[in-house]
């Protein structure tokens, strides 16, 4: 087993495995606030000589775009985004996401999800909170649907759902999640109790692999230095590194 690690490091390593190597993935776009997907991409880039390409939407300096806030969506429309990330105030068992409203509460809104979920080749659903409040049988509002009927154009859809407790793979043909692994310290029973939707699970549930020493060395060295300028609070908290 590796030395002690933070939960964020486990999640970043898991996201990196989902993205896959440079033969599978040329370009990853990361929107909104979460630094963990960006950390995962930087981990891959540190290993693979700067690949895949990472487009950070809200990068404050050296933003990769020169066509304004429209460019990400045009890129996705062209098919030039391989992997994108979405979360949700609610996520349901059919991979629908809700970013608008739930139980009388108003959330920020759908952002570009209703387009990106169709146009990016793969979407990784990511939400750290794993509770029956977030993972519901049916979302109150569909910001973006998890699947589309035949005849509706759709280039891509969900690849997986990663939370603070577990990793689920999406089964497109069954339109259901399948539990891939629980993170260290989580039991399958604990997971079932905290998940509002039904899902498939193997008889013996694997544990999410922990970060290796090599991964941790990269995360705490070159990756931390890349992440700090854009996510200063995160980098300071996790690695005690200044921007």
């Amino acid at each position: 087993m590796a030395e002690s690690y933070a939960r964020e490091e486990l999640l970043a390593c898991t996201v990196a495995r989902l993205i896959g190597d440079a033969t599978q993935t040329a370009h990853v776009a990361v929107g909104a606030a979460s630094p963990i997907p960006a950390t995962a991409v930087e981990l891959l880039r540190a290993r693979q000589g700067g690949r895949p390409r990472l487009s950070l939407l809200h990068r404050r300096h050296g933003n990769p775009f020169s066509e304004g806030s429209r460019e990400l969506f045009d890129l996705a429309g062209q098919g030039r985004i391989d992997v994108f990330f979405l979360g949700g105030a609610q996520i349901d068992g059919e991979a629908n996401i809700n970013l608008v409203e739930a139980e009388g509460r108003r959330f920020p809104g759908s952002f570009g999800s209703a387009f990106m979920y169709f146009a990016a080749r793969r979407t990784i659903l990511f939400r750290e909170e794993h509770s029956a409040r977030v993972l519901v049988p049916r979302v109150d509002f569909v910001s973006a649907p998890g699947w589309s009927p035949p005849g509706v154009w759709r280039r891509g859809g969900p690849q997986a759902l990663l939370t603070g407790k577990a990793l689920f793979a999406w089964q497109a043909e069954r339109r259901r999640f399948r539990l891939e692994s629980v993170h260290p310290g989580v039991t399958p029973e604990d997971l079932r109790a905290n998940t509002g939707f039904d899902y498939d699970a193997p008889a013996r549930v694997a544990t999410t692999p922990e970060p290796t020493d090599a991964e941790l060395a990269l995360l705490r060295g070159p990756v931390a230095r890349e992440i700090a300028p854009n996510y200063p609070a995160f980098a300071a908290r996790l690695w005690r590194i200044a921007a």
Binding site: A32, A33, H58, R60, H61, N63, F65, S66, E67, G68, S69, R70, F73, G77, L99, V100, G104, R105, R106, F107, P108, G109, S110, F111, G112, S113, A114, F115, M116, Y117, F118, A119, F141, V142, S143, A144, P145, S148, P149, G151, V152, W153, R154, A233
Partner: protein, 283 residues
């Protein structure tokens, strides 16, 4: 709607942000950039000071701090946007409260539909098609979005956004010049809203002599004067948001705002300290 042609402007130079706020009438449909773009915060504060009413805000494609401020101050009747958020500082507290208490109508959008609707107005066409979106509950609440058959393919439907023509495009720029041009750099959503809107008001950090369109290095980041109704100087006019190359976002201030604005009382004290009282100060 689109048969009423837009004007070719001879840009006016106004005295200050207050003068621009005076040009934006109650009830206007005002397009605003996101917090990471160039927001004319000093005009937003001037709109609150002049007690603007019933504004409709368009987020291009999302809204943040400036919208939360206007909503909290009671200036806004409706927002059309893909999101309202303070980013890393969390939910927009006055927006959430106004919606949850039924005081604000939200026309929920998704980012590329906003861009497409503005690009339709930019081209003078009544609509523009987009992939995706079908199956989202967003479509149920939008009678300005329709599905349309692809005329080049059997059994292929797309969603179309009706052209969006704001009354006012409002933003801040790093520079304006003697010819009435403004420099927006790579924030091209500002060009799109200026092209689409009936009027465009811009505050700026500093004036450059001459005509930036004559300078091939600056020209790619210029919005031409033909689209600009009026400009006014407002140094640090985007604060506490940023102007790349001049000053960054004041994250500590936004966090402080997020904390205070959680309650109506905290918000009122914020307004008093940072918006209302500044009116009495010399510019």
């Amino acid at each position: 709607m689109l048969d009423q042609p837009l004007p070719s402007n001879q840009t006016e130079r106004l005295a200050d942000a207050e003068a621009i706020a005076a040009r934006i009438p109650d009830g206007a449909f005002v397009a605003l950039p996101p917090d990471y773009s160039l927001v004319a915060m000093e005009v937003v504060r001037a709109l609150i000071r002049r007690e603007a009413k019933d504004l409709r805000l368009l987020g291009v494609p999302v809204l943040g701090f400036c919208a939360d401020l206007l909503i909290g101050a009671g200036c806004v009747r409706e927002v059309e946007t893909s999101a309202v958020s303070l980013g890393e500082a969390g939910l927009a507290p006055r927006f959430s409260a106004a919606v949850e208490q039924g005081r604000l109508r939200v026309v929920d959008a998704t980012c590329p539909m906003v861009h497409s609707g503005l690009q339709a107005a930019e081209k003078g066409v009544p609509f523009m098609p987009l992939r995706g979106v079908i199956g989202s509950d967003l479509t149920r609440r939008r009678d300005d979005w329709k599905t349309l058959a692809n005329p080049f393919e059997q059994n292929d439907a797309l969603i179309v956004a009706r052209a969006i023509q704001p009354d006012v495009a409002l933003f801040h720029a790093r520079w304006a010049d003697s010819a009435g041009n403004v420099w927006i750099g790579r924030r091209r959503e500002l060009a799109t809203i200026a092209h689409a809107a009936r009027a465009c008001y811009v505050t700026f950090e500093a004036l450059r002599e001459g005509d930036m369109l004559e300078d091939e290095l600056l020209a790619p980041g210029v919005l031409g004067a033909v689209y600009v109704s009026a400009v006014a100087r407002a140094p640090r006019g985007a604060w506490p948001l940023g102007v790349i190359g001049e000053y960054g976002i004041d994250d500590a201030h936004i966090l402080e705002y997020a904390r205070r604005a959680k309650t109506a009382e905290g918000f009122a004290r914020y307004l008093d300290e940072f918006v209302t009282r500044r009116a009495a100060q010399p510019a």
